[in-house]
């Protein structure tokens, strides 16, 4: 499944709802669905706020299902991330004046099984994540 959206904030709910609909064939629990929706929402919001800012641009969301695992990638062609390790630190944000909590990557990491971020300054950012649906529930510990 491939979804290409403009970088407007109204599309955040659209994007996560489409991914949620796509994964229903895996018969996810309410919690698994919420996990994936949150992770997608975080990734798309990052592209809109940090990747593009005031510039116009496209965000491409690509999903595949292999066995019981959903793989999701979110790509933008925005400004990119200079220091990925720093960006992924919980509570770190470059936009405190916008009341960004700095929890975006932390939530993606907590709610998905795997998270990989690739970025090049001036070229954009690719977030890849996957989650196996229907495995034993594990409790999420406070960060």
């Amino acid at each position: 499944m491939k979804l290409i959206i403009n970088n407007i904030s109204e599309n955040e709910s659209f994007a996560r709802t489409v991914v949620a609909a796509y994964m229903t064939r895996l018969d996810p629990t309410f919690e698994e669905l919420a996990d994936v929706k949150t992770a997608v929402s975080e990734a798309v919001t990052n592209s809109i706020i940090h990747g593009y800012g005031k510039e116009k641009g496209k965000i491409e969301i690509h999903c595949t299902i292999k066995g019981k695992t959903i793989h999701i990638s979110v790509q933008d062609w925005g400004i990119g991330i200079e220091d990925i390790d720093k960006a992924m630190e919980p509570l770190y944000t470059t936009k405190p004046e916008w009341e960004r909590s700095g929890m975006g990557f932390a939530f993606m990491d907590a709610f998905m099984d795997h998270l990989k971020v690739t970025s090049k300054v001036g070229e954009g950012t690719l977030v890849e994540m996957d989650k196996e649906i229907g495995k034993e529930q594990e409790s999420v510990e406070p960060l």
Binding site: S9, R16, E31, A34, T38, T45, R100, P142, L143
Partner: protein, 123 residues
């Protein structure tokens, strides 16, 4: 599609502002809610704020920013912030973010208002 005016309603009980959110909380809706609640706080006579989540099914990290921002505002006024009627999904997000270290959770908005206004008098 819901109109913005239906996304939220509020009431003021003594010096406590209760905001009933009735939509998903993401970056888009948070931007609208932030202005809405700040106007109400700045209109005066508000010391505490309660966010009621009865009708909220989804929230991402943008919601944390909203609550934290309002918490700082009322703290400056000598008040407190609280959340009520928090569902399972939102509760996980709050728990994971560590928000409960600084903000109290109550079963209902009424419980929150009672606790906050009592505490307010004691200060």
């Amino acid at each position: 599609m819901q109109k913005n005016s239906k996304m939220v309603h509020y009431e003021v009980i003594q010096n406590c502002l209760v905001i009933y959110i009735s939509n998903d909380l993401d970056h888009h809706t948070v931007t609208l809610l932030r202005d809405y609640s700040d106007r109400l706080i700045e209109a005066g006579n508000i010391r505490h704020i309660v966010f009621d989540f009865t009708d909220v099914d989804f929230m991402d990290s943008s919601g944390i920013g909203l609550i934290m921002g309002r918490y700082k505002k009322v703290m400056f006024l000598g008040g407190k912030a609280a959340v009520s009627h928090v569902g399972e999904m939102v509760n996980r997000i709050f728990g994971l973010s560590g928000l409960y270290k600084i903000i109290e959770k109550y079963d209902t908005a009424k419980d929150a208002v009672e606790a906050l206004t009592k505490g307010g008098k004691a200060v």
